[in-house]
């Protein structure tokens, strides 16, 4: 085969270019540190590279979200810790106040101290971390708890932040969970419903100057046929008369119509002008947990409170024994006792219907152990009014309040745990993705340099041979 000069040049040039082109690419790979310079270099690789980059970008954003979530939740935890300290202090004051040696003036001084604890607690709950009330909902324009009324005025929305692919965490804790509660803005007594005055009478009945409280009251037993799940269902088939007597007072007859429900009986007692001077009746749902079945009972307390054990109730009815009105009998002297005297109806559920006129009066005491602010206020008014019985009771409340705070803290602790483990996971994912991206995208400098050197050698050899080859032609020898 004949190799012509022109072709030789051409081939040489092409080889030279090929080498230089390859060297240029290697050089660029070295300069950018990237193996894949354009999609065509590695179409499969580029798809992975994009995915890795997206993941990394999302991870770095999640890292920020993680930090934000951590910041909020740790400050929630810190503030709950502060509240716990306040509770400890309040309990000390309650123990101190319950001592017989203290004078009413001393107790008044303690009450002032409790008042300052209340204000400090509200300030703690109204903490704002970078534009956000951590104990509020979505609202940011006003603090969650009104310092004057103690009412919760924010919403109860839980705000979430995404801290990982498919995982999110709560970053606020509405104070309704443990601190105080909301009241319908239309309620005329709204401003009094957290900081309620001592023995405040919500019923507006002048004949009942003191609203009864269930510190001690008579409780109806559960009917043998099963719990009453609807207080409007017929309770007594035949009706009859309840003869109610408080201590040495004159006895009062209350007539109960046939087919009356528990609510009818309650209203019959409370609406009776004579009976309501001595006793107060409520219908309460005594289930202990919200998941338990409903269990409505009639509760009867003395007016004023504290003398419920002196109530006597005789029943005249044709209801079968052990059913209907017979369940409401209480006369230890005659031995006809169906109801039982309860020192404290704690542990039973509240009156759940907010339209019940006794909703707040009954819950007045009852809400305390669940609601921090009410417990402190309860102690404060008890101290102010020198009510040793209630002061004593407050001591017990504070343990429960502290328990509740521990519970909230453990919820936050769980959140922080989740954030921590996710942030570890994200960090690991980031490292792994970075590794994968680097494997896919980064140039192996060592390999490229050795390749470059190799090509350089070839290039030099090419140049040398070419000059040698063309330095002489046959013409040089044919002189």
């Amino acid at each position: 085969m004949k190799v012509t000069t022109g072709f030789f040049y051409e081939t040489f040039l092409r080889d030279l270019n090929r080498q230089i082109e390859a060297m240029y690419k290697a050089q660029r790979q070295l300069a950018t540190g990237k193996r894949v310079l354009s999609p065509g270099d590695d179409p499969v690789g580029i798809a992975r590279i994009i995915k890795y980059k997206v993941d990394l970008s999302a991870l770095s954003e999640y890292k920020r979200a993680n930090n934000t979530a951590k910041l909020y939740n740790s400050s929630i935890e810190n503030n709950i810790e502060n509240l716990k300290n306040i509770v400890v202090k309040a309990k000390q004051l309650a123990v101190q106040g319950s001592s017989d040696t203290l004078s009413p003036t001393d107790r008044l001084a303690l009450a002032k101290e409790v008042e300052s604890l209340i204000q400090r607690s509200i300030e703690t709950v109204n903490t704002k971390i970078s534009e956000r009330y951590i104990f509020g909902g979505y609202k940011t324009d006003s603090p969650p708890v009104n310092p004057l009324t103690g009412l919760y005025e924010s919403d109860t929305n839980i705000q979430y932040l995404d801290i990982s692919f498919f995982l999110y965490v709560e970053v606020n804790l509405p104070a309704t969970e443990f601190f105080t509660y909301e009241v319908d803005p239309a309620d005329p007594d709204r401003s009094l419903k957290v900081f309620t005055p001592y023995n405040y009478n919500f019923t507006g009945n002048s004949n009942a100057p003191y609203d009864a409280d269930p510190l001690g009251a008579l409780l109806m037993p559960q009917p043998s046929g099963g719990a009453i799940t609807n207080p409007n269902d017929t309770f007594t088939a035949n009706g009859g008369t309840l003869t109610i007597k408080l201590g040495d007072n004159e006895s009062v007859d209350v007539t109960i119509d046939p087919n009356s429900s528990l609510n009818n009986i309650r209203d019959a007692i409370n609406n009776n002008p004579h009976a309501s001077n001595y006793v107060k009746a409520w219908v309460v749902n005594v289930k202990k947990n919200s998941t338990d079945p409903d269990d409505y009972r009639l509760v009867i307390g003395s007016v004023p409170n504290g003398k419920s054990d002196m109530i006597r109730i005789d029943v005249t009815t044709t209801d079968a024994s052990g059913t209907g009105l017979n369940l409401l009998a209480y006369n230890p002297e005659s031995g006809n006792v169906s109801m039982s005297f309860q020192e404290n109806i704690n542990g039973y559920n509240y009156i759940t219907d907010p339209t019940d006129p006794n909703y707040y009066s009954f819950n007045n005491n009852y809400l305390n152990e669940n609601y921090y602010l009410r417990a402190l206020h309860f102690l404060k008014v008890a101290l102010e009014n020198n009510d040793q019985g209630r002061i004593q009771k407050a001591v017990g409340y504070f343990d429960k309040i502290a328990d509740n705070l521990y519970r909230q803290q453990s919820i936050i602790g769980a959140r922080l745990n989740k954030i921590e483990s996710i942030s570890d996971y994200n960090l690991e994912a980031e490292t792994n993705t970075n590794q994968a991206l680097s494997d896919e995208q980064n140039a192996d400098a060592l390999q490229i340099i050795s390749e470059l050197n190799q090509r350089l050698t070839v290039l030099q050899a090419l140049r040398v041979t070419l000059t040698d080859f063309f330095r002489v032609t046959l013409f040089d020898f044919l002189r």
């Binding site: 004949k2 000069t5 999609p39 179409p43 798809a47 995915k51 609202k139 032609t473």
Partner: protein, 545 residues
């Protein structure tokens, strides 16, 4: 035979070798000329012309012919393959430019911009009332829109560039046709013009690189040039090509024949022109459509979620991005409408009319006049009734349509150009799931989280946004790398054929040097023969003198 015959023989040698030296010199001179075919001299001994029974020596040498060392088969092969090479070459270069537009290997990639946009929503969900976060989000959204606009415009520019390129190529074709026609005439007049043939061969090759043609030589040596059977040069006449844009903005190639203009678009095969046509009218529009579908579905999905949310000022039902279709409601109403492209085709950007009589749906393509029966699925969510119509790679979801609904809509062609942020007031960014003024509060981040969640939702056709995008990039990569492979293969092939052609037609300086010496020696020898004849004559003259 007389003594003087020796002079003649010597003379024939001197003249022949002088001519041979000329040819060799010509070869050497053209060693680097492209397409030059080596010429060779054919010597022939001259017979004596004397009738005799005994042996009679001849009368010297003569030049029988000067031949082009030309292998017609190889030339044809070379032309065909180099035409293919030209095609792949142009295609590969074009793809590199498209690749650059979608280059995600770099740090300023489009996918980063998409990420940044979603990250800004995530940032907003951390502080939904923050002005800084809101402004940042708007800036990122505008950047995303700009970035896609620019990418799309680059594709449009690329198409325009290719059109101009094609116009130039067509002009070049016409120039070559003229020149070939001219050379045809010269060759017909002087069949021995070897170098003219080389020139013509070269022109045909160049022409073939631009567009694949076929040709044959007629008896008088003229080339007839055909484009897929249609004559371009025939019998001294030239038929010119021209290019313009048809109604679909695609290139249309026409041949101006004697009386009419013939559309020869489908006859353009191979060569640079076909590569330009493929790039401009098939490949780039494909990616433009993909970008359009991305932008359209992205906008619709974003807007749908955004409309459900509330801004800081309590506004709701606002679109985040500009609406990318025109809608005209003739009768009736609906609660909400969401479009989705599942693919694109020729009819995607047509105007459609949709009618609902309470039970049946009718869809008419107003642009073509044809009607469709859409696939309808309906469901209820709470008190709302939804209908989803699927037809022609499109899904339309309507909320609570009234019974007499009648409307027309049209998706904007070049959708990606219109991609832009509609919101200007940062307070209108709907981060909240409920009205923050009346129901929830400024810290409500439900909708921001929902929008961030779109990153992981199959909102583009049946793909997640980034997955859809990286499929585009990867596809271009595969295309580009296979084109590169094709090109390299074709290059090797052409090289091989060139080698074969050089073997026959190329000039080797060494060979020419040998020939030069050879003919020089022959020339010297022939001159010596004349001297010998002279000496012999002198000897005879001295005898006489």
């Amino acid at each position: 035979m007389g003594l003087t015959a020796i002079f003649d023989i010597g003379k024939s040698g001197v003249l022949s070798y002088q001519k041979a030296l000329e040819v060799v010199s010509h070869n050497i001179a053209n060693a680097a000329t492209e397409g030059y075919t080596r010429q060779d001299v054919i010597f022939q001994n001259m017979p004596s012309g004397v009738t005799s029974a005994r042996g009679v020596s001849g009368r010297g040498v003569s030049l029988a012919d000067i031949r082009r060392m030309y292998d017609a088969f190889l030339e044809l092969q070379l032309k065909t393959e180099s035409s293919r090479l030209a095609y792949w070459n142009v295609l590969q270069k074009g793809l590199v430019r498209v690749e650059n537009i979608f280059n995600d290997a770099s740090d300023v990639a489009l996918s980063n911009t998409i990420n940044d946009f979603f990250n800004a929503w995530q940032e907003l969900s951390q502080n939904p009332a923050g002005t800084a976060e809101r402004s940042l989000l708007l800036a990122k959204a505008e950047y995303l829109a700009d970035r896609i606009n620019i990418s799309y415009k680059s594709l449009i520019d690329e198409r325009q560039e290719l059109y101009v390129d094609s116009q130039n190529l067509v002009a070049e074709i016409n120039k070559y046709l003229d020149q070939i026609n001219e050379l045809n005439e010269k060759i017909a007049a002087s069949p021995g013009a070897l170098d003219t043939k080389d020139l013509r061969e070269n022109l045909v090759k160049k022409l073939n690189d631009i567009v694949q043609i076929s040709y044959f030589e007629d008896i008088s040596g003229r080339y007839t040039i055909l484009l897929g059977g249609m004559p371009l040069v025939d019998g001294g006449k030239v038929y010119y090509l021209n290019v313009k844009l048809d109604s679909n903005q695609n290139m249309q190639f026409n041949l101006e024949s004697i009386s009419t203009t013939i559309d020869v678009t489908s006859l353009i095969q191979g060569g640079k022109l076909k590569a330009d046509k493929d790039l401009r009218d098939t490949l780039i529009p494909n990616y433009m459509n993909k970008l359009n579908m991305f932008v359209f579905d992205f906008t619709e999905a974003m807007n749908q979620v955004h409309r459900q949310g509330y801004g800081l000022d309590g506004s709701t039902g606002e679109n985040f991005f500009n609406k990318l279709y025109d809608i005209d409601i003739d009768a009736g109403s609906f609660g909400d409408i969401i479009y989705k492209m599942t693919d694109t085709n020729t009819y995607t950007y047509d105007e459609y009319r949709i009618q609902f009589d309470g039970t049946n749906w009718a869809v008419t393509d107003n642009t073509t006049g044809s009607s469709f029966t859409p696939t309808v699925t309906s469901w209820t969510e709470g008190t709302d009734t939804y209908y989803k119509l699927s037809f022609n790679d499109m899904e339309i979801t309507l909320k609570n349509p009234s019974n007499n609904l009648d409307f027309t809509f049209q998706i904007k062609a070049n959708t990606a150009i219109y991609f832009g942020v509609s919101i200007t007031d940062t307070d209108k960014i709907a981060a909240a799931g409920k009205n923050p003024l009346t129901v929830s509060g400024p810290m409500d981040n439900e909708n921001a989280r929902a929008i961030y969640g779109l990153l992981d939702d199959k909102i583009i056709g049946s793909s997640k946004p980034i997955d859809y995008y990286r499929t585009i990039v990867s596809e271009i990569g595969v295309y580009s790398s296979s084109t590169q492979t094709q090109k390299s293969f074709q290059e090797a092939l052409v090289e091989e054929i060139k080698k074969l052609r050089q073997d026959a037609s190329g000039v080797s300086l060494d060979e020419e040097a040998v020939n030069l010496i050879k003919f020089q020696k022959m020339y010297e020898a022939s001159a010596r023969v004349i001297r010998v004849a002279d000496e012999i004559l002198s000897t005879i003259f001295e005898m006489v003198g």
